[in-house]
């Protein structure tokens, strides 16, 4: 059976001699994997339409519940090549894409998520370099909020009182009173009220408005670390792309971004 849909390429893996397995976020089937025959051959009709982040109209061939349908056609709607051709943008967006892939189970329709990612790609594509650090961080926060995994930073997660200590294992800030009986001995780290402020805005304001916020580098660094630790706890492992990011940041010959 031939079906048509729209998809955003999340990832590709080499398969066999010249084939590819493509992971898509589709408009109507959620995350799916599909298989493309010989796209790596240089005269392939797929051209660059299977490159990561491409938004394309695709035709799939396979039984209704086939685990690996075959891609018979793929026409680019928006290539978003500007994002993947910018080294920093690509590393940052890879974190978001990896989060999507590890937090969302396959084959569960989620139109909202598709629109969300499309909107983000469009926003990043149109953004100025100077606001990119903040923007990438905002997109990750909003993804977590969209799928219900956002850390709680607005007041103590138990009593709503004031606090600045974030407990990754509880996914929330806890005030000094509550922290003692509930999470004695758990590791936490202190964040600034500026960070909480920025975080709250980036969840509550529309993305094109929160994108105009100009947070300080310390705020971005702090929040980026907090999200990484929150995710590491959530997934019981570090994201590959976070490891990649810290890896290249550690290289003194290389000047990397904060987020």
């Amino acid at each position: 059976m031939l079906t048509r849909t729209e998809g955003i390429v999340l990832k590709t893996q080499k398969y066999g001699e010249a084939d590819l397995i493509v992971t898509y976020l589709t408009s109507d089937r959620g995350i799916i994997k599909a298989f493309a025959q010989s796209p790596r051959k240089t005269r392939s009709r797929f051209g660059s339409s299977l490159e990561p982040l491409t938004h394309a109209k695709i035709s799939l061939w396979g039984k209704e519940q086939a685990t690996l349908p075959k891609i018979t056609q793929s026409d680019i709607i928006n290539s978003f090549h500007q994002i993947r051709e910018d080294f920093h943008d690509f590393i940052s967006i890879s974190k978001l894409v990896e989060m999507l892939m590890v937090l969302i189970p396959e084959s569960i329709p989620n139109k909202k998520l598709f629109t969300f990612l499309l909107n983000i790609l469009q926003t990043i594509k149109e953004s100025e370099q100077s606001s990119k650090d903040a923007l990438h961080l905002i997109t990750r926060i909003r993804l977590l909020a969209t799928i219900g995994y956002a850390p709680r930073l607005k007041g103590c997660g138990r009593c709503g009182g004031k606090g600045l200590n974030f407990y990754p294992a509880s996914g929330t800030i806890l005030c000094n009173k509550c922290a003692v009986p509930f999470v004695a001995g758990q590791s936490y780290f202190k964040i600034s009220s500026n960070t909480i402020h920025f975080y709250t805005h980036s969840i509550e304001w529309p993305i094109h408005i929160s994108n105009r916020l100009k947070p300080r580098q310390e705020v971005l660094a702090e929040l980026s670390t907090l999200l990484d630790r929150h995710l590491t706890y959530l997934l019981s492992k570090k994201l590959h792309s976070s490891e990649f990011h810290s890896g290249i940041s550690g290289n003194q010959e290389y000047k990397s971004r904060t987020t």
């Binding site: 392939s44 660059s48 990561p52 051709e85 890879s94 990896e98 290249i248």
Partner: protein, 197 residues
Amino acid sequence: MSNGVVENLINELTKLPGIGRKTAQRLSFFIMGIPEDEALSIANAIIEIKKKARFCRQCFNITEEEICSICRSSQRNKNTICVVEEPSNLIVIENTKIYNGLYHVLLGALSPIDGVTPERLKINELVERVKSGDISEVIIATNPNTKGETTAQYLSQILKPLGVKITRIAYGLPIGGDIEFADEVTLSKSIEGRNEM
């Protein structure tokens, strides 16, 4: 008749990239049908490659010696390094006969989402070669796809401070393609038409 040995071979063959169960079955039946000495020579070739083939200590090309024949050759231009992802890419470029310098095989391409970091590739080894040798140009011939491009950008950033000329092969090659499948004419043109990064 027991199916044990046949089943065993089928299972072993499916471990190879691109070999599914059906192909493995077909190959197994084919091997059953050929004379014993032919089958033995296939088996021996596999054993030999594991015993003798290794990566060149300098460029990570496949070789039977410590240092490969390209690195050892006195005929090659030792001031240029052409960086490729895989040994198979090196072979295609050699076949064009247009390039006479040295190589460096990264044994992969950077990919944040797969956790392929610079340390997992032979990038430090490349930096060391550029630092210590008489290298005037590094030609980056990674694949014209996202992973290859990401790798090229990273290499360019870390090699530039070393004062070496960095070039990237030109795009006669279509994006999404793989050097392994490029025809020799296209590939020659893209090496000739390389651009400074």
